[in-house]
């Protein structure tokens, strides 16, 4: 069974980087992203004898990761409210202290403030450059839902950015 172990280790070596960065962009928090990827890889390991025969094992891992991330999003939000007594912060935890207007910084803050599903669609679509059909498969939803969620996410980004700079726009 050494070949099976080698297969799995090869899978981990080649895909962990992208999985962690994807998770980080979805949940916007590194420790949470690490936990999600570890849990994902444990689940993949448990089914590796089947997963390794799939055409795209990484797509299966990605689907687990997205499911774990989104199923935990509401719980994380509730926990944060219980701890602070206030709604989750609208901004990412590393928002720049500087008052200087920088397009990328503003964009990151706008991304951090997106609802998890909208941010997930944009991450899969524009960070991983997945076709809409693969995004739909990863999120276990319809193609139409992917399109509408992406559209709403982009519109929300544009709206957020317009509050600071009316000259910006995001074509959909």
């Amino acid at each position: 069974m050494d070949h099976r172990r080698a297969d799995f280790e090869n899978f981990v070596a080649h895909n962990t980087d992208a999985l962690v960065r994807t998770a980080y962009l979805i949940v916007w928090d590194l420790p949470e992203a690490e936990d999600l990827v570890q849990e994902t890889l444990l689940k993949v390991a448990g089914r590796w004898h089947r997963v390794r025969r799939m055409e795209h094992p990484v797509a299966y891992a990605r689907r687990i990761l997205v499911n774990l991330a989104l199923s935990g999003a509401d719980r994380r939000g509730r926990r944060r409210r219980e701890l602070t007594g206030e709604p989750p912060p609208e901004r990412g935890d590393d928002s720049p202290e500087s008052g200087a207007i920088d397009t990328q910084d503003e964009l990151m803050r706008a991304l951090a403030a997106l609802p998890p599903r909208q941010r997930t669609v944009l991450v899969l679509r524009y960070f991983l450059d997945l076709p809409e059909a693969e995004v739909a498969a990863a999120m276990k939803c319809s193609l139409g839902t992917v399109k509408s969620t992406a559209s709403r996410g982009l519109a929300r980004l544009e709206q957020t950015l317009r509050t600071t700079n009316d000259t910006r726009s995001i074509p959909t």
């Binding site: 069974m1 050494d2 099976r4 172990r5 799995f8 981990v12 070596a13 962990t16 980087d17 962690v20 960065r21 994807t22 980080y24 962009l25 590194l30 420790p31 992203a33 690490e34 936990d35 990827v37 570890q38 849990e39 890889l41 444990l42 689940k43 390991a45 448990g46 590796w48 004898h49 089947r50 590393d94 397009t103 990328q104 964009l107 990151m108 991304l111 944009l122 991450v123 524009y126 960070f127 980004l157 544009e158 950015l161 000259t167 910006r168 726009s169 995001i170 074509p171």
Partner: protein, 275 residues
Amino acid sequence: MTDQTELRAALRERAAHVPASSIDRLVHHDYHPRTRLMRPPVAIGALATAGAAGAVAVVISLSAGASNAFAGWSPTPTPPGPKQLAAANADCQTQSPIAGLPLKLSDTRGPFTFSVYADANASATCIKGPAFTAVSGNESSAPISVPAGHILLSSSHTANRAGDAYSFADGRAGDGVSAVTLTLDDGSQVQATVANGWFVAWWPDTQAVKSAAITTPTGMTTQTFPAASQAPCGPQPCPSGGFSQSSGFSGGGGGANVSGFSEAGGSSKGGRRSR
């Protein structure tokens, strides 16, 4: 002017914040699988080989320090406490590496519950105690059958994070097997729980199974098991999370049997790393 190129750039910039150490730590976590070390089977008779067996994860999680980790254990099964079985089943089903298997038997010894879930091709075991829960599983490509009056024994030992080693023996029991008593290398005996074509027993420390006394309608027979060719954990208890496996079949060739192993530590939920 912000466009999709700018959005992609922002996402790449954010993703670049992930440090290499984070990736490295996750890549080098030992998820899976470790091949079980096989005890030479006592080969008589014939048994259709189990074929290539699937590997599954073993997840151990600890919720507290494990000194006196096995307090309350007894060499004979004890009646379960109120809600003990329900609590164990709920926890085990959540963490089982193979979902959907029916419960075959539960062995209770003091506060510990050892459950076996199985169908014709797959099995999962779960031991739940006050301070830890451990699950494991096996799958084979063909149904496993055991002749009447025989047992297919699989024995392993492992340790929790505190280094407290424990061993267990489980397997399928052929028709007519009503009781199994294991004799360990040190001469001590452990009575197994037998039900629904399965048996299971476990004990603190790393003593191996030397023989099994099997009760059937026609009387009692004794099966012996040769010592493992290699002691994976040596004379000392296995290191935290260590895992070794031996198996033998009294009436046949013994199917190839592997198990994966991975460990999640620290918190009460398997798969979560403590920080």
